[in-house]
Amino acid sequence: MVLGPVLQRHPDDGWTLAVPMKVGARMHRVLRRLADAILPPSPRTETTVDEVTGHALVCLRYMPRSSAMIFLLGMRLLNWSPLWRLRGLRPLTALPTDAARRHLVGITTSRWLPVRLLMYGPLGLFMSSYFDQDYVHRELSYAPAPFVAERIELRRKWIEGQEPGVDEEIHHPPVGVP
């Protein structure tokens, strides 16, 4: 198997990831609360919520400033959604995680499109980051790096003249089916 310089999580090709967007402590708390409520409670490490929130703030750097501001405004609206949905007087940051999650599920399935739209951003940012972690991949039995490394090697041999044969085909038939 060839892992070599390729497939590293942080390839050393001189490219620099942007620093996270600066937000105030209150907004930071809102983002952490939303991430905590949206992400599966397990598996996690001690730093999962911080890492996922940090990644979201990095991604905001890559957006036009107006889009990033609209996103953050949407997060504020989400935080106060118990109030404007007439479900309570306290924001999500003041609710226990389970209660906040139940509330967000209600927003995700709301019949009102603009309300559901508020969840597009945080779902996309937090879930894509969480499900990209190695410890989550292990739980899913998802291991792309060794598979890709094997395929890179297969192509290398092909370029050298050794066309893939039947043995290299990808088959995962149901158990008991040849």
Partner: protein, 501 residues
């Protein structure tokens, strides 16, 4: 090979060239390579960075900010809103697309011929262009060793139901099915412009300024003579260094959202008022089936084939495996429930329905960013419902346990009988969840200034020296993956581009 990045620039520096090409995707790289091979001095300006094949990995947290516009957080507003993905790196969208290499159907080219009144856009006239593009990007079907179980399921399901299934032609040279098309092909097999056209251009002396965002055109005496932009600091993402490029001709190839965004700054397209109009996007929706056994959809090529049985209705269906991060962002569950479902990731077959546009939207400028607006019509909605039902039926025919449907008020079908509820529950266009990657048509080409934005050479009617060479040119939607059509039109623009003496 000259590829410059932010650290190479000095404030106020100016470059001189014969042709400056803005963008390095399916349009820009092709037009630049063709011109460089014809002996022209070409300079590319690319907003994204240069990431070689050896830097690609299967991790979304790396590839989204590296390779995608706005780290993948782009959305078309409308009913329903449609998230879209667009490349932002050397190679543009071709680095992150599925690599499909279909020519447009003959009836589409016949329609273009009829709309423009020019036989040049007909199937016969375009044939040599398609041949040339297909040769360069190695458009051909996949080797059996690259096909995964999910593609086989789809093909077998189509066979059982008597539906036409076609193996996709893909831009690939010895693809071995690593299934990382959306995070950059780590084997180098996918013939994105990063590994096909750009090396051709650079080997002929073309230069490439990366990490520079073009902010406006440089116009003198009513003629476009260059572009003015700013280099983007990779750490802060601030636009902090002025960069100017003076040229005899400017080719804008930033895609159907960014191209009109740039041109609208100068209030161009006035004769027809069509600039930014006619926005088309081939909306897609997702149908995820969960099988009782693991099929490892992430092993084997993405989109090895398509179900083309319903092409006459404007419906295409295909497998489209995505990494768990993308899949999880599209499923309708949170917390533990989301993880319980994602634990079945290896048993998921991720498939999609593409519907050809029957209506157009717009792209405008709003608060310094492009604003795309598009709503599906009741006719499109009806076709989506049919397409979802077809695909779900296929999955149940193949033994799926359950199917995750793309409706905010009806998520799970546990059997084929549940599908009868689709028509009953889906009365509103707002409840369907869509996405897209095919943006087209905002600078339509034509033979009359009152009906089009650019002429048949790709040059703006009201700004000599400024050409467009991307999917914005399409007069109508193509109904298939647009990469080859963009490349063929870009080749045509390169052949017809005139430089002033």
């Amino acid at each position: 090979m000259t590829i410059l990045a932010h650290s190479d620039y000095r404030n106020g520096e100016q470059h001189e060239t014969e042709v400056v090409v803005v963008g390095t995707g399916a349009g820009g790289a092709v037009v630049g390579a063709e011109l460089a091979e014809a002996g022209r001095d070409v300079l590319f300006v690319e907003e994204g960075g240069y990431h070689p094949t050896s830097s690609f990995n299967p991790y979304l947290t790396e590839s989204l900010p590296r390779l995608y516009r706005d780290a993948g957080g782009t959305i078309i507003m409308g009913r329903p809103p449609i998230p879209y993905a667009e490349g932002r790196c050397v190679g543009g969208g071709t680095v992150v697309n599925g690599g499909m290499a279909w020519r447009p159907p003959e009836e589409v080219l016949t329609e273009w011929e009829s709309i423009t009144g020019q036989p040049d856009l007909g199937a016969r006239a375009m044939e040599p262009l398609f041949n040339r593009v297909e040769e360069i990007i190695h458009a051909k079907p996949q080797h059996p060793a690259s096909i995964g179980e999910d593609n086989r399921l789809l093909e077998e399901g189509a066979r059982r139901l008597g539906w036409q299934y076609a193996h996709n032609l893909r831009a690939q040279d010895r693809c071995v099915g690593s299934n990382q098309c959306v995070t950059g092909c780590p084997t180098g097999a996918k013939q994105s412009t990063l590994v096909s056209y750009m090396p051709r251009a650079l080997s002929r002396g073309a230069r490439c300024l990366t990490e520079v965002r073009v902010q406006r055109l440089w116009i003198e005496g009513g003629r476009c003579v260059g572009v003015i932009g700013k280099a983007i600091n990779p750490r802060t993402r601030e636009e902090d260094i002025d960069v100017r490029v003076r040229a005899k001709a400017v080719v804008v190839a930033c895609g159907a959202v960014q191209t009109p965004f740039l041109l609208l700054r100068h209030r161009l397209g006035r004769p027809s008022r069509q600039l930014g109009k006619n926005f088309l996007c081939h909306p897609n929706t997702k149908v995820v089936a969960i099988y009782p056994h693991d099929i490892y959809a992430w092993q084997g090529v993405s989109q090895g084939g398509q179900i083309r049985e319903f092409r006459d209705e404007g419906i295409l269906m295909a497998e489209n495996a995505v990494p768990p991060g993308t899949a999880a962002a599209q499923i309708p569950f949170l917390g533990e429930e989301a993880f319980e479902l994602m634990k079945r990731y290896n048993a998921m077959a991720m498939t999609g329905v593409l519907v050809e546009d029957s209506h157009a939207g717009t792209v405008t400028r709003s608060f310094g960013a492009p604003m795309a607006k598009y709503s599906i019509t009741p006719y499109d909605h009806d076709r989506f419902l049919r397409g979802v039902r077809y695909l779900a039926t296929l999955h149940f025919e193949m033994g799926a346990e359950k199917v995750i449907l793309p409706f905010s008020n009806f998520h799970v079908a546990n059997g084929v009988d549940d599908l009868a509820q689709i028509e009953r529950t889906q009365r509103s266009r707002s409840t369907i969840e869509l996405f897209t990657v095919h943006m087209m048509g905002t600078c339509r080409m034509g033979s009359r200034p009152r009906h089009s934005v650019v002429n048949l050479n790709g040059e703006l009617w009201d700004l000599p020296g400024c050409y467009v060479a991307d999917a914005s040119l399409f007069p109508t939607a193509v109904g298939v993956n647009p990469q080859v059509t963009i490349m063929a039109l870009a080749t045509r623009v390169a052949q017809r581009l005139q430089l002033p003496n």
